[in-house]
């Protein structure tokens, strides 16, 4: 009984409940290039945080995936995964890179 309870508790604690905060997509041209993606995240305890700098990190990571190129069809997802007392905030971006 204790094992079952422990397993159930562990499952509940380790599995995150995800919520999708926002999604956006920009125009996709017909001559799109290669699909690239980047992401960035931060961890928040009890919802206390003073900054949202991980968004800039996601943008910089995406830029690095397409140096000297043009990124179009950018899909941006902002999502939050809730664990017990801890939240993972994440920005996932992908787009089509056309090299110059």
């Amino acid at each position: 009984m204790i094992r079952l309870f422990t397993a159930l508790l562990a499952t509940l604690m380790l599995s995150g409940c995800m919520s999708l905060n926002s999604v956006s997509l920009t125009q996709i041209p017909s001559d799109k290039g290669q699909l690239v993606s980047a992401k960035a995240h931060d961890w928040v305890f009890l919802g206390f945080t003073t900054q949202n700098n991980f968004v800039n990190e996601a943008v910089n990571n995406l830029k690095q995936e397409c140096p000297n190129g043009k990124l179009t069809g950018v899909l941006t997802k902002h999502q939050t995964t809730a664990y017990v007392l801890v939240f993972k905030r994440e920005v996932i971006a992908s787009g089509y890179c056309k090299k110059a």
Partner: protein, 138 residues
């Protein structure tokens, strides 16, 4: 007095950042060097129901306490519904962000526009922020 100190501490310590929406636009790195530009506008938001709730907790007279709780419930009812952040008093505070963005980019060629809707919360009061980051093609 203890309640007042507790509420003040909560208000001061509870300066939390909130992220509501992120949108990344097309990024053109093929037409020259990029220089980052940014515009941020903010408006004060107030959760009036929470303010009334705190006032009710602080009220010493039971009759006043009851009245404030009724006001709190009424305010909660009229502010019910889907929303992003706390209600603000002026809804035009983010109208001039495009002009402000262009003023920072002499070439007029802007790429990589990021729309970020965020907030800074100080208890029942918040700063409802609209931030536009972008890159100016030099």
């Amino acid at each position: 007095m203890q309640k007042l100190i507790l509420v003040s501490a909560l208000l001061l310590l509870g300066a939390c950042a909130r992220l509501d929406h992120v949108q990344i636009g097309d990024i053109d790195q093929s037409n020259g060097a990029l220089s980052p530009i940014s515009v941020k506008v903010s408006e004060n938001g107030v959760e009036m129901a929470v303010v009334a709730g705190v006032a009710a907790e602080l009220a010493s007279q039971s009759k006043r306490n009851q009245q404030l709780k009724e006001i709190r419930d009424f305010l909660a009812l009229i502010n019910m519904g889907p929303r992003t952040g706390n209600p603000v008093f002026f809804d035009t505070y983010a109208q001039n962000v495009l002009d402000a963005l262009y003023q920072q980019c002499a070439s007029g060629k802007i790429t990589g526009i990021r729309n970020i809707r965020e907030g800074k919360t100080y208890g029942p009061v918040s700063g409802e922020i609209v931030r536009i980051d972008a890159d100016c093609i030099l």
